[in-house]
Symmetry: C2
Subunit: 348 residues, 2 copies
């Protein structure tokens, strides 16, 4: 049973014990037909006996396949990237691939380059880059790599194939929802300038306002963090009573900061100012008040990007679906519901 040589057993060892050739062992392991049942049983028994496991490297050498994909990401402790990562791994595993991740603090050209090099040394067959910053995508585009690369969240048409959620649509949903609730205009707290998603959300917000003939008010900018939302919220509080009744915040964490700042300034949400976020992090439902927000289907993102990457690796024509952006969904909660006087309905 247990087996404690210095060297783990090889296929030849198993073959010897089973009284067959190493090739027959390989066939059994490879589920080939044309192996007699009795032979297969003998081999399986010998494998069990010796605790044999196929050597990954030898196999990979001759098949030229490592069945490993790489992922480059940043801010992986945030809900969005973490969810994408999870979905990516799950989808890859379903296809029999292993996923090696490199989590960077910042996606500078140098760091991205190092990450790709590191993954390349690890024999990955392809890479998914969760690269929402434009600078990261540019880095990716100019880097030479011996394997296909797919981006996530980099927006459409960047020269590198990628999968995206329709951020513009999400912003239109959020902004439109606030306008429909009777607000004359909607303010916007945007994400960092370098982020494609921030740009797309801001563009969707602006487009929605312009469509109904409203001039977009001043845009504030944060860095996605609750703290930056808090600071922006303090500024926003100063505009209450001067036309500010609704804010579309580019993510939920900043919205949390905004809510706190408004609360501290004595501004009531949603009675005085309605707030809508983006992401639907698990906490949003329990904010004070529960936050209206836009939900993205990260599982779909993961599945699609793995499918796309595998198409590229296998040399298949990518299916048409990979180009189409994934539709986000508006989740309405108390923070944008003007006719409640309490702090929101209980959770579902």
């Amino acid at each position: 049973m247990a087996q404690s040589q210095l060297r783990p057993p090889t296929m030849a060892d198993v073959a010897r014990l089973a009284g067959v050739s190493h090739q027959t062992v390989s066939r059994v392991l490879g589920d080939h037909p044309n192996v007699r049942d009795r032979t297969r049983a003998k081999v399986l028994h010998a494998i069990e006996e010796m605790g044999y496991r196929r050597n990954f490297s030898a196999r990979a050498l001759v098949t030229r396949r490592t069945r490993t994909l790489g992922v480059v990401a940043s801010d992986t402790t945030l809900y969005g990237p973490a969810s994408t990562l999870f979905a990516l791994e799950e989808a890859a595993r379903a296809e029999g691939y292993l996923v090696s991740t490199v989590s960077l603090r910042r996606l500078t050209v140098d760091k991205v380059s190092e990450a790709l090099e590191h993954l390349s040394q690890g024999g990955v067959e392809g890479v998914v880059a969760i690269a929402p910053q434009r600078s990261a995508v540019e880095a990716l585009a100019e880097l030479r790599h011996p394997f296909p690369v797919v981006t996530v969240g980099s927006g459409p048409s960047v020269g590198i194939p990628g999968v995206n959620v329709d951020q513009h649509l999400g912003a239109r949903l959020a902004t439109g929802h606030l306008l429909a609730a009777g607000h004359r205009t909607v303010w916007h707290l945007a994400g960092p300038e370098d982020w494609q998603e921030a740009t797309d959300r801001a563009a969707g917000w602006r487009a929605t306002l312009e469509k109904v003939g409203v001039a977009p008010p001043l845009t504030l900018r944060g860095d996605w963090s609750p703290l930056s939302g808090y600071r922006a919220g303090q500024e926003l509080a100063g505009w209450v009573g001067r036309g500010l009744t609704a804010v579309f915040v580019a993510n939920d964490q900043m919205a949390l900061g905004v809510l706190r700042a408004l609360r501290e300034a004595g501004v009531r949400t949603p009675q005085d100012v309605a707030v809508v976020g983006f992401d639907d992090i698990p906490e949003s439902e329990f904010f004070a008040p529960p936050l209206t927000t836009v939900r993205q289907d990260f599982a779909a993102v993961g599945k699609r990007s793995i499918a796309l990457l595998l198409d590229l690796i296998e040399g298949r024509e990518p299916s048409g679906a990979s180009g189409i952006a994934i539709e986000p969904q508006l989740v309405v909660r108390a923070s944008s519901f003007p006719y409640t006087s309490d702090q929101g309905a209980p959770p579902a």
Copy 2:
């Protein structure tokens, strides 16, 4: 420059171009001494010329090293596991290792077994299991695997080497803080029974109360989610005025739910009931009110567990530090500060 054969170039190809033997190329790549500068330059040039990269599998086959570690985790979208994962990968990369992750939804014996099998097929040299559930650790203990396994968050003394934060201490800090603020007793909303960390936190809470001669009140239990905290919070609200003035909640997400439930019940925090959480997620500082909580040093956890795993892989004697639990830190904010009438001080 660019190079677009069907087969990527091999060491022999480079050697031919450089007019040396493949072994010399290997030496250059391996940074061996005893290679003449001129020769090294020629080889480097040829490598650049052909866009050559060493074949990972061939290298791994002969060196018997894949320099890849595996991680098994669950709930990787939560702050704690995500932070641990990040720290693990960063520490491993610093040592030149790649990290392959398997993220499970639930750590059942079958799933853990499959995950280890999957990683094993991928040639990992060792595995870190983020296995806070006791059932997961038991699964790990009974499984045979051809590589060392290290646990994180499984508590001390489980037969498998592991790294832990001192949860008991964290709970004592939290409970002690509330008692010191003048509360007669402290209630506890615990995490799931099967989680070692939940058990340890509950034990630390109980020990602190017993030390000052207070009989621990009824323990409530949640599943870490804000929703479960909300439900528990509704129950807790019923005890206000009957001896409940302070609650130690086993994590921040549940604390968020508790805060909402109390607010909806007209109970003020911290004036009527003080609340302390655990984890210090980035959002806690902006809760209503900002949450007092216990911070864990995930980076230290990551570094230590990688160091321990590498010791095991290399056959070194693990350094003594690996057995010692990492000390958590109390972070005091408005939710436990009884002498403020507003909703808390502005963030730092």
